[in-house]
Amino acid sequence: MAEVKAQMAGTVFEVSVKEGDSVTKGQTLIILESMKMEIPHEAEADGTVAKITVAEGDFVEENDILVELA
């Protein structure tokens, strides 16, 4: 189980995948908005989206888990 964590504090701008989706390395899973910038969070390896723990508009702290990949 690989966890994708927030790189920095910010707001969830876009959830780009659904639970159950298969994703490839480098694919954007979540985009945060912070400091007026879009911060893409990508899959570090191929896998399946097991769980999405945030919704669009949520505030997240640095290191909060966003997505779990199986």
Binding site: A9, S34, M35, K36, M37, E38
Partner: protein, 512 residues
């Protein structure tokens, strides 16, 4: 049986020394994919040739060949260098009094000859049984670090960490310009996991607490993570090729090469200031193909630092990476930049800043961690650098981000904007919110409110229009993206003769 001749006697002694420690320790090297110290040196030096000093150190002890360290002079691509290399087959590479004296002497040799000094570290630390002779005195281990500090910025100092670098010994890498670590084998720590458990009750693995990967990604003590020893040695040789032998000389110039073929800058850089792109792609289009030597690639990757060649000339690149953390500057990125700039400035390597920065991070977390004093290190290092400096405003440069990325006030030789550049205290949305927040809240009709904000944003954008800034001579030029490499080549070439007289004083009070 006949007596051996004196020649045979000498030969026998030398063979014993060259054999290093007991066979079981050589077996252990093989099991952990490590090379014997003399094989490392053969790979490091041109044609495997070197001259060694104090081979016979502690020969009388019988079981401490070379006293656990080889000190040698040889060449890397024709450049003479001095090296100390621990032998972990001899008492785990630990330091006795002669070990320390040998290291000190080879440092003194490097200083006298004004050539790079390499530290090939693989050592368990001090021999506690010998501490009186090797630890506290004038020529004890402390002197090694004193010499490192004294020679810092005078000659390049490079560390390859093959194994442990424990306790006091961990300061050897800390005082080097660059530390190359072998993944899985290198480690650096003040107290071992065993000591941590005994003294503070923490249970932790060596890899987690002080392993190469941790240091190259989290602590920032490591600069290059190598997959194995051969790669580490190759990287050290490659690193040296960017540097002069000492501060008084200039970096060697190579033949020019065209950039790697790829998308144009126009295609790479999005106009929307908030959209991410990959700065590496941009760098590739500006530098000679395959000339990038990245430093701290895995650490604070929102800022890229590395050596490269542009038309054969060495330059140090400091570039924001909008793809990671939006290119926002953090504490670690500020530290990373400060050390890199100091390194380049010491050895006459011109600096190229590629700015696309929303500013320094804000919020409680970073304020408590002292982001202001860390940012001050970055700005101070950049400001004191006297090598040629060119600041390219690729896209946004907001707030102290503009200052850190060598904005106009910091005496860059030129500030060059691409047409996508935007220079301001803050971005339009943030600025309008800051200035008109009361007014915006007072507008009740939502449509009218949006209209008001839109209008103010447009007005703000006009205020910071690039041509207005050029007209006021805030920036020195606006160039088309496809002209950028050309203008950099010309300008760095012209600025070669730059001279700056430093203000009369001993030294600044460095922000830390």
């Amino acid at each position: 049986m006949t007596q051996p001749t004196y020649n045979e006697h000498l030969q026998q002694k030398i063979e014993e020394i060259y054999a290093g420690g007991q066979p079981k320790y050589h077996e252990k090297l093989k099991e952990t994919n490590k090379l014997f110290v003399r094989d490392r040196l053969k790979q490091l030096f041109d044609d495997g040739i070197y001259e060694e000093d104090a081979r016979f150190a502690n020969v009388e002890a019988g079981d401490l060949p070379a006293d656990g360290v080889v000190t040698a002079v040889g060449q890397i691509d024709g450049q003479t260098v001095c090296v100390m290399a621990n032998d972990s087959t001899v008492k785990a590479g630990s330091w006795g009094s002669r070990t320390v004296e040998k290291i000190i002497r080879i440092q003194e040799t490097a200083e006298k000859m004004q050539v790079p000094m390499l530290y090939l570290v693989d050592s368990a630390g001090a021999r506690i049984t010998d501490q009186l002779e090797m630890f506290p005195g004038r020529r004890g281990a402390g002197r090694i670090f004193h010499n490192q500090v004294r020679m810092s910025g005078m000659i390049p100092q490079i560390c390859i960490l093959f194994g442990p670098s424990a306790a006091g010994g961990a300061y050897i890498p800390a005082f080097c310009d660059i530390v190359i670590m072998v993944d899985g084998n290198a480690s650096m720590y003040l107290g071992s996991p065993r000591m941590a458990e005994k003294v503070i009750g923490e249970k932790v693995s060596l890899e987690e607490m002080g392993g190469a990967r941790m240091h190259c990604t989290v602590s920032g003590c490591g600069d290059v993570l190598a997959a194995n020893e051969e790669e580490a040695i190759r990287e050290a040789r490659r690193y040296i090729s960017y540097f002069p032998a000492n501060f008084a000389e200039f970096p060697p110039i190579d033949e020019t090469k065209a950039p790697k073929s790829g998308r144009t800058l126009e295609e790479i850089i999005p106009e929307n200031q908030n959209a991410p792109f990959d700065m590496y792609e941009c760098i590739e289009q500006l530098i000679d193909e395959d000339s990038f030597f990245e430093i701290k690639k895995l650490f604070a990757s929102e800022l890229i630092t590395g050596l490269a060649r542009i038309d054969g000339q060495v330059v140090g690149i400091i570039a924001n990476q909008p793809k990671v953390k939006g290119g926002v500057l953090f504490i670690d990125s500020a530290d990373k930049a400060a050390k890199f700039i100091t390194l380049c400035d010491a050895f006459s390597i011109p600096l190229l800043f590629l700015a696309d920065v929303p500013g320094f991070m804000i919020g409680t977390k970073v304020e408590k961690a002292g982001i202001i004093r860390h940012g001050a290190k970055f700005i101070s290092a950049m400001s004191s650098a006297t090598v040629p400096k060119i600041s390219v405003i690729v896209r946004k440069a907001y707030g102290a981000g503009l200052y850190a990325m060598c904005g106009p006030a910091f005496e860059p030789d030129a500030v060059i904007a691409l047409p996508t550049a935007q220079i301001a205290v803050m971005g339009p949305e943030a600025a309008v919110n800051a200035v008109y927040s009361n007014k915006i809240e007072a507008i009740e009709d939502p449509k009218e409110r949006i209209q008001f904000v839109k209008q103010k944003i447009e007005e703000y954008k006009e205020e910071i229009d690039l041509y207005k800034l050029a007209s006021e001579m805030v920036i020195d030029d606006i160039v088309a993206p496809n002209q950028l490499r050309h203008t950099l080549i010309q300008r760095f070439n012209y600025y070669n003769s730059k001279q700056i007289v430093l203000p009369y004083r001993k030294h600044p009070v460095y922000p830390v």
